[in-house]
């Protein structure tokens, strides 16, 4: 658990982070979003004390960070950055095993852990273990970076635009894998990005920052439904906002039971998003879809009218709340 209250950071006259309070519950994925220079990286780096905060409290698991031994604090926090920061003179295996070795694990334990992580991140041991970072593609290097961050099994993971330098296809793939990993490992993650789609896809909790301040925070859905000002709205994609919201909703949650009428021709799995459903309707020129389960058996029906209406209802109920 990470708790920031009234945290500020001044560099001389400039204020990089201004009175920020934030609570990241254990096992939650928190994304900090904002344009460059808004203080999101500074905030991240204050958590592992690469930058010392000027005022306020940063508390990890009930203890203020300045009361931890600096080195021990950093060794229990995983850290992955855009440039990977891999040591160019070490092999992949040695890079990944860094923190366990710093923690004086036995060499057998380190080896086993490295093997486990490389397997987890889809890097075959015999192909990659002895390669050097400059022999890897951008995506592979970033996987190694994430593996190194996870090596000592830290509860907390800090990630500073880890996928920012990758091509769109690789980036999307790694995002999917990170989401899968997080579903499996339940780390407490603080993730900095300027890519709103990435944040919407991964985060449980979204923090929008501007000029060192938090403009709005909440669940991705809440922000999409109710952006506080035009800045947040434009960041969330303006007119595209409806589709982004639809992308976060599963078909299963909006389907009705199979009616008396003939089932629709087009079929969509229940785990797909409403956005994909809408796209399918546009493609197939229909306003109804048959929802199927993993065995391709019909379990319900999705109609355009209902989707549109419920989106409205969501909004109304949210306002009333």
């Amino acid at each position: 658990m990470i708790e920031l209250s009234h945290v500020s950071k001044h560099f001389g006259e400039d204020t990089a982070v201004d009175d920020i309070s934030l609570h990241v519950a254990k096992g939650k994925f928190c994304a900090l979003v904002g344009s460059s220079g808004c203080g999101k990286s500074t905030m991240l780096r204050m958590i592992n004390r690469l930058i010392e905060h000027s005022s306020g409290d940063i508390v990890i698991d009930g203890q203020a960070i300045e009361h931890y031994d600096l080195v021990k604090l950093r060794r229990r926090i995983g850290y992955a950055i855009q440039s990977t920061g891999l040591f160019p003179h070490w092999t992949v295996a040695r890079n990944i095993g860094l923190v366990p070795r710093l923690l004086k694990w036995s060499s057998a334990d380190v080896k086993a852990r490295v093997e486990e992580l490389m397997c987890l991140l889809g890097l075959p041991m015999d192909e990659f273990a002895h390669k050097y970072p400059h022999q890897l593609s951008g995506g592979q290097a970033q996987r190694v970076g994430v593996a190194r961050a996870l090596a000592a099994d830290p509860d907390i993971l800090l990630m500073d635009e880890p996928f920012g330098a990758l091509d769109p296809i690789t980036r999307e793939k790694l995002q999917d894998e990170l989401a899968k990993l997080q579903a499996q490992l339940h780390k407490t993650v603080v993730f900095v990005t300027h890519d709103m789609d990435e944040a919407l896809k991964l985060a449980d909790h979204l923090v929008v920052m501007r000029e060192g301040r938090v403009v709005q925070q909440g669940t991705p859905l809440a922000l999409l439904q109710n952006p506080v000002d035009p800045f947040v709205e434009s960041l969330l994609g303006g007119l595209e906002r409806g589709l982004k919201q639809a992308a976060l909703t599963r078909v299963k949650d909006h389907m009705s039971s199979l009616g008396q009428s003939l089932p629709a021709q087009s079929r969509i799995p229940g785990d797909f998003s409403l956005r994909q459903a809408l796209s399918m309707m546009l493609r197939d020129h229909c306003d109804r879809l048959t929802v199927v389960d993993q065995q391709d058996m019909p379990i319900g029906e999705l109609s355009l009218r209902k989707v549109v209406k419920e989106a409205q209802l969501d909004k109304v109920s949210h306002r009333e709340a």
Binding site: L50, R74, I77, P88
Partner: protein, 397 residues
């Protein structure tokens, strides 16, 4: 055909005509025909008579040499990998044949009844040798020969020359100079190597410590660089002279130092001056090497929870090592040259022969000092360069 194939087509890689090798070939031909290739002197002091190519090795020899040089140029008109390989063979063969040319010339031109008569190497010979080595450099680049191959090639040529010199070239002036003082030569060589080794190792250690202190205390950096730059501008002879008085005074007044061997002339001032000159390239390279390590890598090391000492010895230092070794290389090569001057204040070394030879107007004796210095510098340069390559992070790029 992919883009990469298109770029590596023969024409792209080798071009239409290699002007460099053709110019070198023309240069070698003119040097061999227009300048004297050998000279003959009845004794050590008298200036020799210069002889041209035909007189020295006869028409068949002259034609053979010309043919070899023309072949190097001719093959360069339409370059290909095969042609470059052939040129490499020709250049190597010529280098191997050159001492035999001297043998033939010696046999024909030296009167056996004159025991003091000697054969000197003429300007044409030197120029051709130099241009041949340039050919080798060009061919090495074109054929992308590794450092190892070039070293092997050059050392086998060098070995062949040494064998010829030892066995058959008795009447060559250079060999005679050597034979007259071989013990002295080996001692001077040893002194030279010892002086350079001490100066370089001290400046490596001091340089590393100084560079690390300069990284910590910014103010020291400005002062130290200013001082070292100033030292570098003092001419080496002047520095040796300047050290004479204070060291002589110290030796006279502090008996302990005198016991250690400190005196106004000799090894001590030579070492002090050599170290003073070596410090600037060493400190500058060490400082830059340590400073230029990627800040992202270092920050990652910090964020992983490495302690400052671990960050330095496990990350910063190994990543700086190749550039640092480059500094050692420059320092060592510079020190090998400077040590020659140290002979003037009685520190010994190969410079002794240079200054004695200059004093006696015996150019071959100067060569006896200068050539080994050159070879020593080349060996150290190649060795440390190879070491820096081997220590490059993550093997070879």
């Amino acid at each position: 055909m992919s883009l990469i194939d298109a770029f590596s087509s023969p024409n792209r890689q080798y071009g239409h005509i290699n002007a460099v090798l053709i110019c070198l070939s023309v240069g070698m031909l003119s040097a061999a025909w227009l300048l004297g290739v050998v000279s003959v002197a009845p004794n050590r002091i008298v200036a020799g008579t210069s002889y041209g190519l035909v007189t020295a090795i006869g028409w068949p020899g002259a034609l053979l040499v010309s043919l070899l040089f023309v072949a190097v140029g001719g093959l360069a008109i339409k370059p290909s990998r095969l042609h470059y390989c052939a040129q490499l063979c020709i250049v190597t063969l010529t280098l191997l044949l050159m001492p035999f040319g001297l043998m033939v010339a010696g046999h024909w031109l030296i009167d056996p009844t004159l025991p003091q008569a000697r054969l000197g190497i003429g300007a044409g010979y030197w120029v051709a040798l130099f241009l041949l080595l340039l050919c080798l450099v060009e061919l090495r680049l074109r054929l992308e020969l590794s450092r190892l191959w070039t070293t092997l090639l050059l050392s086998s040529v060098g070995a062949a020359w040494l064998v010829c010199a030892a066995l058959w070239l008795d009447n060559l002036a250079l060999v005679q100079e050597f034979q007259a003082r071989d013990k002295q030569f080996y001692r001077a060589m040893l002194q030279h190597v010892v002086l350079v080794s001490i100066a370089v190792s001290v400046s490596v250690v001091v340089g590393l410590i100084l560079a690390m202190l300069m990284r910590r205390y910014q103010r020291l950096q400005r002062v130290a660089f200013a001082l070292l730059n100033f030292l570098q501008t003092i001419p080496s002879l002047a520095l040796f002279g300047l050290l004479l008085a204070p060291l002589a005074w110290l030796a006279a007044n502090v008996p302990f130092l005198a016991q250690l061997g400190v005196s106004g002339i000799g090894t001590t001032p030579a070492l002090i001056a050599l170290i003073a000159y070596s410090l600037l390239p060493m400190v500058r390279n060490t400082y830059i090497a340590l400073d230029e390590v990627d800040s992202n890598t270092l920050e990652a090391a910090k964020a992983m929870g490495m302690r400052p000492r671990q960050r330095f010895w496990q990350v910063r230092f190994p990543l700086a090592l190749p550039i640092l070794l480059e500094g050692v290389r420059i320092t060592a090569v510079q020190a090998i040259g400077l040590t020659a001057v140290a002979a003037l204040i009685g520190a010994g070394g190969l410079g002794t022969f240079i200054f004695q030879g200059l004093g006696q107007a015996a150019m071959d004796m100067v060569l006896l000092g200068a050539l080994p210095i050159l070879v020593l510098a080349l060996i150290v340069d190649a060795g440390l360069g190879a070491l820096a390559d081997a220590l490059r992070p993550g093997g070879h790029e």
